[in-house]
């Protein structure tokens, strides 16, 4: 996700708002990375009093059991990023494969796959993910990633199919074909590089949706189980004590909001860079 950003803003005058996206995502990524080597307290360390307000010892306060919320927020950033990237990777693998196949397939299979994408898209990622979680014996981080990845694959598939068909109608594909290039080579040398920028924008948006859906799953109690401090589960736990300790419910939501809006702004920036026709839309 970081590569396009480092090159994007230099050439043209970039909207400062896209820089804001870069900064917001950067803060969360930094928090997630640092959490691997350092957190203020151990995750299960009941170091403080119960429901402390933010103070010098506990920057974000403590939860019902006196555990440090800032530590949980940092671990939560790591989980959001891992689940988001994992889900997007799985969704992209399934979606791009089926999308390209649909574009190459006979009319009948193409129509059938397109209809399937449309039907599946009508069901939100969250619902499909809930079913996948239900199908597994127990909830785990891996299940959540797999579930969300499957859930967002039809969207990627649909976009890939449309983009691929557009490229396939170009003269240079005919030229490549006539000069004896095999279909797999055409996919790897002509199609994938050409659809990559547009697909990248879409995948960035899907990342935001996956992060949001993971939080919803965890909020519903279907996400990764306790040692993982997901922002969604923090919100669920804080809801019952929101009156006495509002910060516990405000901060995880704010973190989630920061990451999602940051990713959306970045995606907008990418689109401006790669797709001048859409600029400002």
């Amino acid at each position: 996700m970081s590569t396009p950003v480092t090159t994007a803003p230099r050439r043209r005058r970039t909207n400062p708002i896209h820089w804001l996206g870069f900064v917001l995502v950067g803060v969360i990524v930094l928090a997630g990375l640092v959490s691997f080597v350092w957190t203020p307290y151990a995750l299960s360390d009941m170091a403080g009093g119960r429901l402390e307000a933010p103070n010098w010892q506990h920057w974000a306060g403590t939860d019902r059991l006196g555990r440090d919320l800032f530590t949980q927020l940092m671990i939560g950033a790591r989980i959001a990023l891992v689940v988001g990237s994992g889900a997007v990777a799985i969704g992209a693998a399934i979606g791009i494969t089926t999308g390209v196949l649909a574009a190459f397939a006979t009319r009948f299979f193409d129509d059938a796959l397109a209809a399937l994408f449309d039907i599946l898209i009508a069901f939100p990622t969250l619902l499909i993910a809930m079913l996948v979680v239900a199908a597994r014996e127990e909830a785990s981080l891996g299940t959540a990633i797999l579930a969300l990845g499957i859930g967002l694959s039809p969207v990627v598939g649909r976009v890939t199919r449309i983009l691929t068909k557009r490229i396939l109608s170009q003269d240079y594909i005919t030229a490549a074909r006539v000069s004896g290039t095999s279909w797999p080579a055409i996919v790897f040398w002509h199609i994938l590089p050409n659809i990559a920028p547009f697909l990248g924008v879409n995948l960035a948006l899907q990342f935001g949706l996956a992060v949001m859906a993971e939080a919803s799953l965890s909020y519903l109690g279907l996400g990764a189980p306790p040692p993982n401090a997901s922002w969604g589960r923090m919100l669920q736990e804080a809801q019952s004590t929101v009156y006495t300790a509002p910060w516990g419910a405000v901060l995880p939501g704010l973190a989630l909001f920061t990451l999602v809006i940051g990713v959306n702004l970045l995606a907008d920036g990418l689109r401006d860079r790669f797709d001048p026709t859409q600029r400002g839309a």
């Binding site: 039907i119 898209i121 009508a122 069901f123 939100p124 969250l126 619902l127 809930m130 079913l131 979680v133 239900a134 199908a135 597994r136 014996e137 935001g208 949001m212 939080a215 919803s216 909020y219 519903l220 109690g221 279907l222 969604g232 919100l235 804080a238 809801q239 929101v242 009156y243 509002p246 419910a249 405000v250 995880p252 939501g253 989630l256 909001f257 999602v260 809006i261 959306n264 702004l265 400002g280 839309a281």
Partner: protein, 318 residues
Amino acid sequence: MLGYMMRRLVILLLSLFIAAIVLFVLLRLLPGDPAGALVGVGATPEQIAAAQAQIGSDQPLGVQFITYLGDLARFDLGKSFVSRASVLDEISTRLSVTLPLALTAFALALLIAVPMGILAAVKSDRWSGLVLSVISQIGIAVPVFWLGILLVYEFALNLRWLPSGGFPLRGYADPGRAIESMVLPVLTIAIVMSASLMRYVRASMLEVLNSDFIRTARALGDSYTGALIRHGIRNAAVPVVAVLGIELSTTFLGAVVVEQVFSLPGMGSMLLLGIQQRDYPNIQGVLLVTTLLVLLTGFLADIIQRLLDPRLRHEARR
């Protein structure tokens, strides 16, 4: 148009049939025999066998499938494993919560999003248009359950204007409290939804505003607002209606999270409970009815699009 509607209706029924098959297969793919879920952990093999005979999961798959289709044709969705109540009755009770919730929120979101989206497009090069766009960007990124919790904190716990959740036991027999308990959930969904709708309205409107036919109308002497009302809105509405269909079905299903925030006894909480308790008949029932709602919404959206845009009607005839 009538021909199109008939054809579209056939597609609708066909999709429902396919969805029923997919659901049948999916639920049989789930690990473990549903009979195991019925009798619980620690049951003797005899008890499991008895349970299998009772729900018919000892029959061959083909027989099970025929029974399933026959039941569906008679609108029989079976009985819950846990409460032994008829699934269809349970669903109709819960729909009386989810449907008003989703439809009111949807209507409110439209009321907010359409004027704001048009305004954002018309004023796109002014600061007011920019502010509207920023608001919608923010709204899209706000997690719906977080907004729900914040609204509860402010309006239920701090100001004590509204209940923080729940639904009167007597339902709509207690209209005052029923409506009161719906206000915050409706607002929560409507705010988040209007943000994304506004984006579509704005984009669609911007495209229309830059189109040749608006320029022609202006050149022929229409005022800016006149051209907008006579030619702009109807044209801009076509792609928006397509999105509305998807958004509305998302609301039916997305209600699961909001129902959880406000402890509302709707379809979403029924599904969640069904998943937690492995109550297969309930899961299957909720999904079938939801699929029906989603398909119906898509059907209506397609019809409305064709009523709005004669070009689509002609394309359909070819």
